[in-house]
């Protein structure tokens, strides 16, 4: 009896060690750049772990995939590639991947590889294998809907593979409901109104993030973040852009000024910056 109790406690100890090892992966962190968010995650996102991104609504798919790409860019290490895995159905429904748009978010499309699987089974198999290869820095897995195959086992497999190689996995779940998983963090992404630029132009990518789940940590917090393409990091959204203040301060242009129609807004903004 005492023997079995001892064995049990030993087993418990080993499990606890294993869990601790799983949580505190030895691959370090990458920071989002948003102070309170990183603080809540105890220093940042863990490398070599699975991070899940859910879209709030079908219309937030653009924001959610954008956030997945941004997270990938935060996690990227120099000299490594990013792999983006999609299914054929995703291409049909969500549209074609646009490398120029990836560049506009701050990424380098030449380091990006796109793999298109015929179904979710192939997608997850490829993801698990790709995660084992440390030639990739980040693997983004775009999975639409809630396939039955994406269960706890599949997610555990991905986590183990990622932990083994230190590759960060970003699981992008579009049109999906929450399923149990072994993800390190789980995010709900909604689009948020951006602070406008000069001439009322839409501003920088602004997202409402909800931390739905964090392994071994508090969850449920919400942040509004803005993506800074040039620094490849998130920042708190600023209410008023400096550019506007400055353009307001500048004296009106000398000479006959043609009222700037909507056509010239981008130009007007560039001019305002030049003058400022």
């Amino acid at each position: 009896m005492s023997d079995s109790a001892q064995t049990l406690s030993a087993l418990r100890g080993r499990l606890a060690e294993g869990m601790a090892g799983g949580c505190e992966s030895g691959h370090g962190f990458f920071v989002s750049g948003h102070g309170p968010l990183d603080a809540c995650l105890k220093g940042g996102f863990q490398r070599g772990q699975l991070h899940e991104v859910f879209a709030g609504d079908a219309e937030d798919n653009g924001s959610a995939s954008g956030f997945a790409a941004m997270l990938g860019l935060c996690a990227m290490q120099p000299g490594k590639s990013m792999l983006w895995l999609r299914t054929l159905a995703a291409v049909r429904r969500g549209g074609r991947f646009n490398p120029a748009g990836f560049a506009e978010l701050g990424g380098d499309p030449s380091t990006l590889l796109m793999a298109i699987a015929q179904d979710e089974t192939a997608l997850l198999r490829c993801a698990a294998d790709a995660l084992r290869c440390d030639g990739f820095g980040v693997v983004v897995i775009e999975c639409r809907g809630s396939p039955a195959i994406l269960d706890l086992t599949a997610s555990r497999r991905l986590t183990l593979a990622a932990d083994h190689s230190g590759v960060t996995a970003v699981m992008l779940r579009l049109d999906a409901r929450e399923q149990p998983s072994t993800a390190s963090t789980r995010w709900l992404v909604r689009s948020a109104p951006a602070s406008p630029l000069e001439a009322g132009a839409p501003g920088y990518p602004t997202l409402d993030l909800t931390l739905l789940r964090q392994r071994a940590g508090p969850a449920g917090r919400e942040w509004k973040v803005e993506w800074d393409r040039d620094a490849k990091s998130f920042r708190p959204p600023s209410q008023v852009r400096h550019g506007i203040e400055r353009s307001r301060r500048t004296a009106p242009l000398p000479g006959a000024v043609v009222p700037v129609p909507a056509i010239g807004q981008a130009m007007a903004r560039a001019r305002a910056r030049l003058i400022a």
Partner: protein, 472 residues
């Protein structure tokens, strides 16, 4: 247009090569013509020459329409010279190709007999003597001079002293003459097809075990690697063929992005390929042989081991990409290169990642600007209905997927004209509509990329609106 070559019926009707098409039509109104395609002819000739390797390995092509076979030492395979000629004739007759065949003791003799002979009456020498001087294949001036001198046949020239012939018609005529009659000989230059790296294992008894057949492939891989090491080559494409007793042959093909001699890696690719087969490799009544061919090779120098005695491996990425490409299909693993086009959906060249190992340089976006292009583009763009203040103004409200959105902020238009320098048959070329792109944000804080298709009143009466992408 002139006639280049004719069939027998056309020649009998009185036509000749070089005749103008109009003249030829005047003679034979129902003339059927095909455009002259020398490249296709050369390809056909090459293919036919390939087929002829079944009779002898020494096959040379004589453009534009000749094939020379050196059958020395290989006639007994067909049972003698006569049966061989018949076999060749029969083979080409199956393909409905008319051939003129002539065996000769030298290449020139065979050439002359095939082109100028009319069946052998006596011995070969007698036939050659009866050939016209054109069979010497001299330049037209010398040929004309020979005929002017009254030397009509090869025999006439042969009877004259060589010295006289050489002095009067040039040394080339003597060389040709001696080769024609077989006094001197020049070997033919056979086509040298790239050596095929094929490794085959035949079995005394058909094997019905799937696993054993796969094991044989691994053994053949080891054999192939020995050969590749000798040649300093690495394989880029491998094909395994499984020959079943009932005649069915299954092919498995794998490719790698970098040349490799790594048996384990290639075997793993074959395993991947086997897993992704729609219908599994069925041995049926058994395989009687298994073959492995290295289809494509590339130079691969042996790499030096580093100081710790471990062989340096290429980036682990290459192996992974091979596996993914084998599993998903090579066209499903892509890398993107920039395309010099302003049309958004055309601004990229997706290329197969296996074929493009080197990265290309993308232009950097302007610092400080918000993203001007969305991450995904709807293909095709999704139709929306738009209300705007003026017909050529910015959208104020739009309906997408049956939901109404109020536009709060907008920027634009970014006008992208069709590529007028391309022809009107091009899907993006001239006569296509100009697009006015707007970046807009609705009252819920979502950002969209929409465009008006066509300029109001100038290109179309009432332009359509489309949603092309969602911004983050």
């Amino acid at each position: 247009m002139r006639l280049v070559s004719l069939n027998r019926a056309a020649v009998e009707a009185g036509l000749a090569p070089g005749l103008g098409l109009a003249d030829a039509r005047a003679i034979v109104p129902e003339l059927a013509i095909h455009h002259h395609d020398p490249v296709a002819d050369a390809e056909l000739l090459d293919r036919l020459a390939d087929r002829c390797t079944r009779y002898t390995p020494m096959v040379a092509v004589e453009p534009p329409d000749g094939i020379m076979l050196d059958i020395t030492g290989s006639t007994h395979l067909a049972g003698g010279e006569g049966p061989l000629v018949q076999a060749v004739q029969g083979h080409f007759a199956d393909w409905r190709i008319t051939v003129r065949l002539a065996p000769g003791s030298s290449a020139e003799a065979a050439h002359a007999l095939a082109r100028f002979g009319h069946g052998e009456a006596g011995g070969e020498q007698a036939t050659i003597r009866a050939l016209p001087v054109a069979a010497l294949a001299l330049d037209p001036e010398s040929e004309l001079a020979l005929r002017r001198a009254g030397l009509k046949t090869v025999g006439d020239v042969l009877d004259r002293p060589r010295k006289v012939i050489a002095a009067r018609f040039g040394p080339a005529s003597v060389y040709r003459l001696e080769r024609l009659v077989g006094v001197s000989a020049k070997p033919i230059v056979p086509r040298s097809p790239a050596p095929r790296r094929r490794f085959r294992r035949r079995f005394a008894e058909p094997i019905a075990s799937h696993d054993y057949a796969i094991g044989i492939v691994r053994e053949l891989l080891a054999e192939a690697n020995l050969r590749l090491v000798e040649e300093d080559l690495g394989g880029r494409a491998f094909e395994a063929r499984f020959f079943r007793v009932d005649g069915l042959v299954r092919h498995l093909r794998v490719e790698t992005g970098l040349p490799t001699r790594d048996e384990a890696a290639i075997a793993r690719l074959f395993d991947e390929r086997l897993d992704s087969l729609a219908d599994p490799l069925d041995p049926g009544f058994g395989f009687d042989s298994v073959e492995l061919e290295v289809l494509q090779v590339q130079s691969l120098k042996p790499s030096q081991e580093d100081i710790e005695g471990e062989a340096r491996s290429d980036s682990p990425l290459a192996g992974m990409l091979d596996i993914l490409a084998t599993r998903l299909g090579r066209n499903r693993l892509l890398r993107f290169g920039p395309n010099d086009s302003y049309i958004p959906e055309n601004g990229q060249i997706p290329s197969v990642a296996l074929d493009t190992p080197e990265a290309c340089i993308w232009p950097r976006p302007q610092v400080g600007e918000p993203p001007a292009r969305p991450l995904h583009l709807f293909d095709p763009p999704q139709r929306i209905t738009v209300i705007s203040e003026v017909p050529d103004g910015a959208p104020r409200r739009f309906r997408w997927r049956r939901k109404l959105h109020d536009v709060v902020r907008q920027e634009g238009p970014e006008r992208i004209a069709a590529e007028w320098w391309k022809g009107s048959d091009d899907p993006l070329g001239r006569d296509r509509l100009t697009r006015d792109y707007y970046r807009i944000e609705d009252s819920d804080g979502r950002r969209y990329w929409v465009f008006r298709h066509g300029l109001h009143a100038r290109e179309v009466a009432s332009p359509e609106w489309y949603l092309h992408g969602l911004f983050a």
